[in-house]
């Protein structure tokens, strides 16, 4: 967001503006109509428009001075003193109206960050330029400087010149005019692709202008190549740069090769179309990227929020125990009781602080792995690593654990996941802890957990954790993945919410089946067998 409201205009930017404006005017004063300010490419209003957006009505006087100075220095008052003055006054007024229309609309927002705003900008610029052209050329015609028969053609050339000038140059000038815009542009275009597409552009330009006398616009469409490259990779910033470079190069080449006989205004129209295509692609790319970034950020925040809430819950248990033990010790000491009771309480305090530390360690693990580090993992190894951590608990409660990877017994391909090891371990640990809790309620001998690793179509892999517990009712299944729906006061505590978030961040899913026994399915992307050198001959 740029704020345009409170900029005061000092003499320095005003003078710099006038100087730059004159430079633009001079450099693009090509193929004028009757020596007047009617040229096929007129980028100076783009500079003026950005200036107006920044300073509002205070930009009028410098702009008027610049227009007048242009007539005097570049064109030598070709229209006579009165008409020159009147013309400059009108242009200042007309540009001012366009500038004010843009300013009203975009005073608190960026123009080039969404397609609706871009469309509004194009509409204002085109409509404004046409109206401006009609009045200005009529003024010149009335003064006898343009023959009546050429009125239509003059209006066309003037409007095209201004429209193209604004459409092609204004985005880049707008970006360059503010420090955040410059930083953003620098950040976006500073990679190897910029010189690459610029080189491609040079090649295409050489191709186009090398043959243009014989082939007219036949090769012009090749210019879309570098533009689409720039726009699709670097968004609207890359597009703005590319469009400006192409336009400058085309004008320079037209001037240099003296190819003014090729319909320059038509070339200009093509260029304007190209610019619009570039900007709309760029905006679409930017919007998509923005949406993806927003989503990622939201997901991470949500996961961190879940994590923090789970942590608060998890930490509360040992903290409660610690506080109670501490108070009890205080009481014992106050009564001079330093026997076994006190020692026992202190020993248990140490255990509890260890438990609290474990919770914190888990949180640290999560945040350290918040950015996913994907690697090829053998699901069987993963499962055995995690189940290793449950050996004692399983034995203590007499729970039978079976791991079934039969689907992979005969095949040459291993069940290879492409995932973040720590995060998936976290999910598996959570699922196993849940399963263990679920079977505890069953009579001894009926406590079973089964983990099945099986391939799914579409390069996916399913890890299902079944238990002989009560299972998930339809009512619970709906709410199971909401934060804190689980009725557990202890256990892993990370929650199914976070596990699902992790699975989804991997492009997989986690769901619970409604069944008379526990059934959780974790589906993750698998690595294609060929990807790591193992290839099925069939």
């Amino acid at each position: 967001m740029r704020t345009l409201r409170h900029n005061t205009l000092h003499w320095f930017p005003a003078c710099a503006f006038i100087a730059l404006y004159l430079l633009f005017d001079w450099a693009t004063y090509i193929d004028p109509l009757h020596g007047l300010n009617i040229t096929p490419w007129n980028p100076d209003p783009a500079l003026g428009m950005v200036f107006w957006l920044r300073y509002g009505k205070r930009a009028a006087l410098p702009w008027f001075v610049a227009l007048l100075a242009g007539e005097v220095l570049v064109r030598g008052v070709s229209a006579g003193l009165i008409i020159t003055l009147l013309g400059a006054l009108w242009l200042t007024l007309a540009y001012g109206v366009i500038g004010e229309a843009l300013r009203r609309r975009f005073s608190s927002t960026d123009i080039f960050d969404n397609s609706h705003r871009l469309f509004a900008w194009v509409a204002i610029v085109v409509a404004g330029s046409v109206v401006n052209g009609v009045v200005y050329v009529t003024l010149l015609t009335a003064a006898g400087l343009v023959p009546r028969a050429e009125w239509t053609m003059a209006v066309w050339r003037f409007s095209v010149g201004d429209t193209v000038g604004l459409v092609v140059s204004m985005p880049l000038i707008w970006m360059l005019a503010s420090a955040p815009g410059r930083a953003r542009l620098r950040e976006r275009v500073s990679n190897w692709e910029t010189p690459a597409y610029l080189a491609l552009a040079i090649g295409v330009l050489w191709l186009v202008f090398g043959f243009i006398t014989s082939a007219e616009f036949k090769h012009f469409h090749f210019l879309f190549l570098p533009l689409i490259w720039a726009a699709s990779r670097q968004g609207v910033y890359g597009a703005a740069l590319m469009v400006f470079v192409l336009q400058t190069a085309i004008v320079a080449l037209v001037k240099w090769t003296g190819a003014v006989d090729i319909a320059v205004d038509e070339l200009q129209m093509l260029d304007a179309m190209m610019a619009l295509v570039g900007f709309f692609i760029g905006i679409a790319v930017d919007e998509r990227r923005q949406a993806a970034d927003d989503l990622k950020h939201t997901l991470r925040l949500a996961a961190a929020g879940e994590m923090a809430a789970a942590l608060a819950h998890e930490l509360n248990q040992p903290l409660t125990a610690l506080a109670a033990y501490g108070k009890a010790c205080e009481h014992l000491l106050a009564h001079g009781d330093t026997g076994e009771l006190l020692q026992g309480a202190i020993a248990r305090m140490v255990v509890e602080s260890g438990r609290a530390a474990e919770v914190v360690r888990r949180l640290r693990d999560f945040f350290r792995t918040g950015a996913m580090r994907l690697e090829a993992l053998d699901a069987r190894v993963l499962v055995s690593t995690v189940s290793q951590q449950f050996v004692d608990a399983l034995r203590e409660h007499g729970v039978e654990l079976a791991v079934d990877a039969d689907a992979y017994a005969a095949a040459t391909a291993a069940p290879t996941l492409y995932a973040d090891r720590l995060q998936i371990e976290l999910v598996l640990r959570n699922l196993l802890a849940n399963a263990l809790d679920a079977v505890k309620g069953r009579p001894a001998g009926a406590r079973r957990i089964r983990i099945v690793i099986a391939p799914l179509d579409g390069a996916r892999l399913q890890l299902s954790v079944e238990d002989s517990g009560e299972g998930v009712s339809a009512a619970l299944a709906v709410r199971l993945f909401e934060p804190f729906v689980s009725s557990k006061g202890s256990g892993m505590g990370l929650g199914l919410v976070l596990s699902r978030a992790i699975a989804e961040a991997h492009g997989g899913s986690l769901r619970a089946d409604v069944a008379t026994h526990g059934m959780f399915r974790l589906i993750l992307p698998a690595m294609a067998p060929g990807a790591h050198g193992v290839n099925d001959a069939q």
Partner: protein
Amino acid sequence: MPSNLTVFIVDDDPAVRDALGLLLGVRGYRTAVFASGEAFLHAWRADWAGCLLADIRMSGMDGLELQRRLGELGCLIPIIIVTAHGDVSLARAAFKARASDFLEKPFDDAKLIAAIDEALAQEAVVRSDVRRRAAGAELLRELTPREREVMRLVVLGRHNREIAPALGISVRTVEVHKARLMGKLGVDNVADLVRISML
């Protein structure tokens, strides 16, 4: 508050259970700990008196469920609900089901003791009331049907002269019955008689 009342602790976290038991134990409370709502319900007997400290989130039966089941059993023991994360809707549900207090883990020692003392005081009032009621009922059972009839009319404020024709007996007989029933109930005025009749 040393008394014959017990603090029953129901929490599925072994450390929390143990620590609370120890803390209250060294402070002179009689405590009993249970690992789950089911275990408590299974062991519960009608003559148990004291207060219940129950975690709201437990695997298996949660605190609110335990509270509801005890209500169904006609157990009026005051319940202090404990949670590891303050949850307004749960607290509301607990209070609607007549919880005595609601504590957030980790709780302040003083707050815990205050809540327990208040719950036990509440329980003591209820218990003595129950005892008084039971004693009154016991005494009333010893009256003969005729004495009970006379008592009903005396409590309604009738004079002996009005009671006699109503029951078809002499005023003198009414006076004898009245003296005998007041002797059995151990009261010497009509006001005390009214109080006993209202138990």
